[in-house]
Symmetry: D4
Subunit: 252 residues, 8 copies
Amino acid sequence: MSEKKVKEIFDQIRNEEISDEEAMLKLRLMPFEDIGFAKVDHHRELRQGAAEIIYGAGKTPEQISEIADVMKKGGQDAILITRLSGESAEIIQKSQPLEYFPQGRLGVIGKFPKPDCNGKIVVATGGTSDITVAEEAAITAEFLANKVERIYDVGVSGLHRLLARIEDLMSADVVIAVAGMEGALASVIGGLADCPVIAVPTSIGYGASFSGLSALLSMLNSCASGVSVVNIDNGFGAGYLASMINHKGEKK
Amino acid sequence: MSEKKVKEIFDQIRNEEISDEEAMLKLRLMPFEDIGFAKVDHHRELRQGAAEIIYGAGKTPEQISEIADVMKKGGQDAILITRLSGESAEIIQKSQPLEYFPQGRLGVIGKFPKPDCNGKIVVATGGTSDITVAEEAAITAEFLANKVERIYDVGVSGLHRLLARIEDLMSADVVIAVAGMEGALASVIGGLADCPVIAVPTSIGYGASFSGLSALLSMLNSCASGVSVVNIDNGFGAGYLASMINHKGEKK
Amino acid sequence: MSEKKVKEIFDQIRNEEISDEEAMLKLRLMPFEDIGFAKVDHHRELRQGAAEIIYGAGKTPEQISEIADVMKKGGQDAILITRLSGESAEIIQKSQPLEYFPQGRLGVIGKFPKPDCNGKIVVATGGTSDITVAEEAAITAEFLANKVERIYDVGVSGLHRLLARIEDLMSADVVIAVAGMEGALASVIGGLADCPVIAVPTSIGYGASFSGLSALLSMLNSCASGVSVVNIDNGFGAGYLASMINHKGEKK
Amino acid sequence: MSEKKVKEIFDQIRNEEISDEEAMLKLRLMPFEDIGFAKVDHHRELRQGAAEIIYGAGKTPEQISEIADVMKKGGQDAILITRLSGESAEIIQKSQPLEYFPQGRLGVIGKFPKPDCNGKIVVATGGTSDITVAEEAAITAEFLANKVERIYDVGVSGLHRLLARIEDLMSADVVIAVAGMEGALASVIGGLADCPVIAVPTSIGYGASFSGLSALLSMLNSCASGVSVVNIDNGFGAGYLASMINHKGEKK
Amino acid sequence: MSEKKVKEIFDQIRNEEISDEEAMLKLRLMPFEDIGFAKVDHHRELRQGAAEIIYGAGKTPEQISEIADVMKKGGQDAILITRLSGESAEIIQKSQPLEYFPQGRLGVIGKFPKPDCNGKIVVATGGTSDITVAEEAAITAEFLANKVERIYDVGVSGLHRLLARIEDLMSADVVIAVAGMEGALASVIGGLADCPVIAVPTSIGYGASFSGLSALLSMLNSCASGVSVVNIDNGFGAGYLASMINHKGEKK
Amino acid sequence: MSEKKVKEIFDQIRNEEISDEEAMLKLRLMPFEDIGFAKVDHHRELRQGAAEIIYGAGKTPEQISEIADVMKKGGQDAILITRLSGESAEIIQKSQPLEYFPQGRLGVIGKFPKPDCNGKIVVATGGTSDITVAEEAAITAEFLANKVERIYDVGVSGLHRLLARIEDLMSADVVIAVAGMEGALASVIGGLADCPVIAVPTSIGYGASFSGLSALLSMLNSCASGVSVVNIDNGFGAGYLASMINHKGEKK
Amino acid sequence: MSEKKVKEIFDQIRNEEISDEEAMLKLRLMPFEDIGFAKVDHHRELRQGAAEIIYGAGKTPEQISEIADVMKKGGQDAILITRLSGESAEIIQKSQPLEYFPQGRLGVIGKFPKPDCNGKIVVATGGTSDITVAEEAAITAEFLANKVERIYDVGVSGLHRLLARIEDLMSADVVIAVAGMEGALASVIGGLADCPVIAVPTSIGYGASFSGLSALLSMLNSCASGVSVVNIDNGFGAGYLASMINHKGEKK
Amino acid sequence: MSEKKVKEIFDQIRNEEISDEEAMLKLRLMPFEDIGFAKVDHHRELRQGAAEIIYGAGKTPEQISEIADVMKKGGQDAILITRLSGESAEIIQKSQPLEYFPQGRLGVIGKFPKPDCNGKIVVATGGTSDITVAEEAAITAEFLANKVERIYDVGVSGLHRLLARIEDLMSADVVIAVAGMEGALASVIGGLADCPVIAVPTSIGYGASFSGLSALLSMLNSCASGVSVVNIDNGFGAGYLASMINHKGEKK
C-alpha cells in the first residue's frame, strides 16, 4: 500500500510531473512507516509478536476472543494469551478452542510448535509458591518453540535439592531463576550454571519482602556473573528473553 | 550501702520512731536501684560488660586511655575497644599495652582469655571485603572466651568453596554469616548448618545494594529456619550474641 | 539405597569390572546426595522438621490433610501446621484429630511433647494486638518441647507493667520480644534480661508504622547487646530459633 | 510609619479630598501588613525572634557579626546564634563579646536571662553522642528564660539509669527526649512523665538507622500519649517549642 | 490494697517476726507497683486515662461493653471510645447509653465535662476529607474538658479562607493543624499563630501522597517554630496532647 | 455587602464619630476578604473554577446534585464533575441532565463550550491502560474550551507508532504525556515537540512500578527541556494546567 | 548535502538508471535525518538551544572554551553556561569575555538579549538558601529574553512577607516557586497567582528533608491547580520552561 | 592431584585393604571438589574467569601485581583488571606491561584476543556522562573476544541521533543500553532492536535520580520485550553477560 504511494511519487519524478523539491516534501509528509522503516514493522511482527501474543490483563473475554478471531483470519496458527483468569478462560472457551493453564494463568489457542532449536531452557523456582510465575515463563518459552525443563522448589535453604539437579542445570543453555523471599536462588545458580541466567523476583513473601523488593535487590546485587533481572513477577518477559537467547546462532 | 539505708528504715520502724506512712514515703523517695533492683545492677556488670568493653567511635584516644585506666584500677584484666582507628591505636599504645587488630578495627589491652566452653563459633564471609566486619565479630567472640573458626570468601556464587568447608560448618555451635551485596550466604548456611545462624549484613557493594539494605532484606527474608539478623556492619553485636548462645548450658 | 549403589561400584572396582576412570565418572554422575551428603539429609530431618511442620499458607485443607497422612504413615507422632485459617482447620478436623489454636493460627495433630530441657523461653508482647504473632512463636516453641512463659501487653509506655514481671524476664534462657508500632520493647528487654533476645517486629500499627517497617528498624538499631531480629510477623521463625538456643547444651 | 499612611487616608476621607472608592482602592494597594496586620508583625517580633536569634548555617562570620550589630543597635540585649562552627565563633569573637558553646554549636552575645517562670524543662538523651543535639535544645531553652535540667545517657537498654532519675522526670513541666538509634527513649519517658514530651530523633547511628529515619519512625509510632516529634537533629525547634509550652499560663 | 501488704511487712518488722533480710526479700518480690511507685500508678490513672478511654480498634462491641461496665462500676462517669465503627456503636447502644460521633468515629458513654480551663484549642483542616481525623482530635479534646473551636477546609491553596479566620487562630492557646496532600497548613499556621501547633498528617490524597508520607515529611520540615508532629491520622494523640498543653498552668 | 461596611466606617470617619485609632481597629477586626482582597476572591472565581468544577471523590450523588443545583441557580451553564463513578452518575442523571464519560470517570452537566483559542492540546498515552487518566485530562481541557487531539497507545517500545504521529505532535501548543510503567514517553515527546510538555505518571504497571513511582521518577529526570510533572494519575491537574498555558496570549 | 544525495536518487529515477525497488532501498539505507526529518533537526536548533547553552557540569574549562569558540564561529552572539564553578569561570575568562554569576553558578559569553515579549516571569524562593537554584532559573530566563522579577525569602512561615508582594505575584505570567524544606510555597502561590506555577524543590534542609524528597512530594501533592514540578534543584529546567510558556502567543 | 587421591582409595578397595564403609567415609571426608565436581571447578575456570579477571576495587596496586604474577606463571596470556584507578595503574605499570583505559577504569596486561565469533555487541549510552560505565562494558566484551560497536550520546530526548544509527542497532546480536537520569534508552532500543538488550542503569543525574534508582526502576518496567537489567553502574557484568550471549551457538 505505502510502497504503492512511494512508487507513484517515483512515477511523477520520472514523468517530470513534480519538481525535486515537491517530491522531497511529499516524502517527508508521508506517514513515518511508509517511507522506509518496513524493517521496524517487520521485526515488530517477528519479535514483538503482537500478532501472536495477547496481554490478557484488563481485557474482557469478549475483547480477547475478537482479537483472536482477527489474528486467526490473518493466518496465525497459534495464539498465546497471558495474565488470563480462569473465569475469562471459561468464557473464551465457548467460542475458541482454548487450552488453559491455570498455574501460569495462560491460555493457548491452536497448537504448540515443536522445539526448533537444540538448546534447552531450564526454569527453576525457590519454592512452590513461585510456580505461578515460573509456569508463565515456561509455557511462554514452550509456545515460542523451545525445549523447557522445570526444576521447582529447589530453594537455597535446602541446597541438596538444588545440587541433586546439578546435571540438568549445567546442561542448560539459558536458566530462568524464579524466587521470592530472599531471592538467593539466582546467585547460587549463577555460580553453578555456565550460561546466561535470567532472574525473576516474585512478590511471594511477607513482612520485609516488601512485595518482591527484597528479592529484586538481591538479584540485582548478585555476585555471580551472567545474571540479569526482569521486573517482579514478569514470567512472560523472562520466557520471551530466554527464547531469544536460546534461538541465537540456531535460527534467525 | 543502700541495704544499710533500708535497714535503718527498718530499725526506725522497729523502734517505732516513724509511722508506717513515713516509712513508705522514705522508701519511695530512695533512689530506684537502692530499693531492690540490685539484680539489675549486678547483671549489668556481668553482661553488658561496661567494665570490659569500650565503644571507641566518637571518643578521643585520651578519653579511651583514661577510661581504661579506671577499669584497670577496678580490677579488669582485659579490655576490648571497638571501632578504633589505627591513628587512635598508635596514640593509646604510648600509654597502654594495647594490641591492635587493624582488619577488625579493634584494640585489646591485656590478655585474651582461653576458651572456657566446648562449643565452636564459625565466622563466615561472602567476600574478602566483608572481612573487616567479620574480624570485629570474631575477635569479640575470642575476647569473650570462645573458640572461633574463620571461613572467609565462601560466597554463594562459588558454591564449591563453601561446600568444601561443610564439615566445619556442620560442627559449629553458632555460625555468624557476614555478607554484603545479595546477602544470600545466610540462607545457604542456614540450610546447611544445624545451629543458630546470626546474619550480619554489610554495607559492601554498590548501586542497588543501597549501603547494605539489599543484604539486610535478603537476610530477614531467609527461608532457612534458625536465622536471625543484626544491624548492618554490626560485627560486635553478632560476636557478643554468638558468645552468649555458645556459653549457654556450659557456664552461667 | 544410595549406599547400596556406591557399594556396587566398589564391587565393580574390586572385581576389576570397570576402570578407575569409569568408576570416577559413575560417582560423579550419581545424584549429589547419594555420594556422601547423608549428613545433609539427616540433619534436614532433625532440624528442618520437614517431616513435622507444615507451612499451611497457600495450601488447601485437602492438601494439608494428605501431607499429614503421609507423615503419620512415616511414623510422626505430632505434626504442627502454621498459618492455618479457622475455616481450613474445621475442614481438616473432619479427617484428622486436629487441635486448633485460633490466636496463633496454628493446628497440631497429635500430642505436644513434654519439655525436654530445663531452660525457659519467655514470650513478651508490647500490646494485645501483637498476641497473634506471639502465640505463633509460643506454641511453636511448646511443640518443640520447650517450657514457655507468656508476658503479654507489657509495652514500654507503661513501664511498671513490664517491671512487675522482671523476675520472670531475668530467669529466662531465651526471650522472644514481639512488638509493633515503635518496637521499643526489644531494647528495653535486651537491657534487662541476661540471655539472647529474639525480636519479632509485627505489622501492627497505622500511619508511619509502614506495615512493620518502623518496628523492624527500631529493633535492628537496638543499643542493647544480645538482640537479633527475624522477619516482620515471623512468629514461627522466632519460636524455632528460640527452641534451638534453649536446647543448646542440654540435648543434641 | 504605615499607621501614618493610613491616617493620611483617613484625613483625606475626613476632608473629602477623595471618594470612598478611591479610599478603598488606596487601602487595597497598600502593602499587606500596613493595612492592619500589625499583630502579625508584632507577634513575629515576640515569637519568631527574628530580632533575637540568628540561624548561623550558611552565613559567613562577617555576615553574622553585621546582623548582630544591627540587632544591638535595635536595642537587643541578648542574641542567640545557632549552628555556629567553632571556626566562625573564633572570628566573631574578635568583634563581638560572644560566648561559645561547642557541644551545642551555639553562640550567645550578651547575657542569658534569668528563668521567668516556675516550670522546669528536662532534656534527656539516650546516649552520649546525642548530646550535641540535646545541648542545642537545652541552651536554646535557657536563652529563652527557662529552668533546664539535663538527664543525659539514660538510654532504654540500661533502664536503671533512667529509673534512677525518675523523680526528676516526674517533676518536669516539659520533657525533651533526644535519641538516635532505635529512638525508644521517647516512648519510655512518655509512659513515665506526666507532661508533654517533645521527641527529637538524631542522626546518630549506623547501618539501618538510615541517618535518623529509624528513630524518627519509632518516635512517631510511640504508644505513649503526650508525645510529639520534631525534625531529625532539630534541637533548636524542640527547645523553642518547650519554652513556648513551659511559659503557658505563666507569662504571656 | 498493696499499701496494706507493705504495712503487714512493717508490722512483722516491728513485731520482729522476720529478719531484715527477709523483709528486704519480701519487698523485692512484691509486684513492682506495690512497692512504691504509687506515683506511676496515680499518674497512669490521671493521664493515660486507662480508666476513661477505650481504644476501640480490634475489639468486639461485646468486649467494649464489658470494659465499660467494669469502668462504670469503678466510678467512671464518662468513657470515650476511639476508632469505633458505626456498626459496633449500634450494638453497644443496646446495652449502654452511648452517644456516637460518626465523623470522628468516636463514642461517648456518659456526659461531656464542661471546659475546666480558660484556654482555647483550635482544630483546623486543609480539606473536607481531613475532617474525620480532625473530629477525632476535637471530640477527644472536648471530652478532656477543653473549649474547642473548629476551622475546617482552610487549605493553603485558598489562603483567603484561612486569613478570614486569623483572629480565631491568633487567639488560640493550642492549634491542631490537620492536613493530607502537601501538608502545608501546619507551616502557614505555625507562622501565623502565637502558640504551640500540633501537626497531624492525614492519609488523604492519592499518587505521590504515599498514604500520608508526603504530608508527614512536609510537617516535620516546617520552617515555622513551635510546630511538632504526631503519627499519620493520629487525631486522638493530637487531641490528648493539646489538652495536656492547654491545661498547663491552670489545673494540675 | 462588605464594601458597605467599609463605607460605613468611612462615614464615621468623615462625621468624626470615631477616632483614627478606632477606625483602624475596626478595619483590622473585619473578616479578611472584606477589607480589600477582592482580587483574591475574584481570581478564585475565574481560575479555581470552584463554581464550575466539582471534585466528585468522597461525595455522595445527592451531595453532588445539590451542589450542582446551587451552581445552576448561581448562573452556571456548564459544570464538570471529576472522579465520578458510574453508579453515582446514574443516580445523578435522575435529577440532572448529566452526560457521563466512563473512561475519564467524568460527568458534565450542560454543554461543552466551543474552543475559544487557536492553540491545540495533544494528549498522548503510552499504553491503552493509561487512557482513563488521559481522558480525564482531555475532557477537562475540552470543558475549559480547548481544541484537543488524542494520540493514544504510542509507547516508546514501539517507536514507529509515535513517529507516525509526529506531525500532530509538532503542531501542538501543549502536550500532555500520560504514561505508567517506565514513563519514557515524556522524555521522547519532550525531545520531539516544540512546546511545553506536561507529564502525568500513572499507577499502571506491576512489580517495580511501585504504583507509579517508577514513572514519576523517570519523568522528573527527563533530560528533555520543557517537561514538568504533576501528581500520579492527576489527569485533571494536567488538563487544567494545559488549558491555562494554551489560553496564554490569546484570552485573558 | 543530504538533499543532494536524495536529488541524485531522483535523477537516477528520472534517467531510469535504477528500478523503483532499488530507489526505495537506497532511501531506506540513508542516514535517518537525511531522508526528511529536517524538521526534527531544525527544531532542535531553535529549541534545544544546543548551539546556545552549554551544560557545564563534568566538562573542563578547556572543553567549555573550545565548544564556545565553535559556537561563536557558527554565528552565536550569546552563550549560556550552566553549573559552572567559580574556578572554571576564572580559567575560561582568560580566553573568553565571560560574565560570571556566582549565585546561580552560571556564565554568559556575549550580551543578554532584551526581553522580546510583554509577559513577566516571577521567581520566588522560600528562604535565602534557595537563592542559588532561583538564580539559575532567573538568569536562564533572562538569557532567553524574558523580563524577570525576583521575590526572595518569602517562605510560608512568615506569610506577611509573601502577602506584601501579592501585587507582583498576581501580575505575573508565569511563576517559578523555589523551595526546600516543606516546599509549601508552591501551593500557597498556586492559590494566589492566576498563571502557571512551576515548582522547583531544592535539596536545602536537613534530617527528614531527605535531600529534597520532602519538598518534591509536597509540590507534587499541591491542591492548587496550575502547579507542575521539575526535578530537585533544576533551576535551569524551570527557567527554560517558564520562557517557553511566557513566549507563547507572543513570538513563535 | 585429587584424582590421584581417589584412585588411591580405589586401589585400596581393589586390594581389599579397606572395607566399603571405610572407603565411603574417606570419600565423604575429602574436600568437596575432589570427589567429583570437577565440572564445577572446570567451568569456574572457563567462565568465572578467576584466572583472568581481577576485581581491582579495594586491592592495593601491590596486591594486584602479585596476583597478576601468579596468573602469568599459571599460563595466562591476558589479564583484565576492573575498577582500577589511574594512580594504581601507574604503580602497577612499573612492574607489569599494563595498558590503562582511563574512561572505563580498566587495565589490561597482555594482548586483547581477536573476536572469535561473528556476532556484534553494540554499546549505547544516553549521555556523555554514562561513557565511563559504557567503556567498562565495551572493553570487557572486547577482552572476551567480541566485536564491539559504540553508539554514544544517543539519549531519547534527541531521538534523531538514535534513529540515525538505526542500521547499526538493528544489525546487533546483543545491545548494552547504558543510561542514567530517566533510563528510557533501554525501552526505546528494546522496541527497535531485534536481539537481547542488557540495560545498565547509571548513577549519573541529580535530585530525584536518587543515585540511579530512577533509571533502575525505569529499565525494570520497560514495556519492550527482550530487556533485562543488571546492577547500577555494573558495566563489567553487562559486558560479561553480553559476551556469553554473543558466543552462544558459535563457540562452546
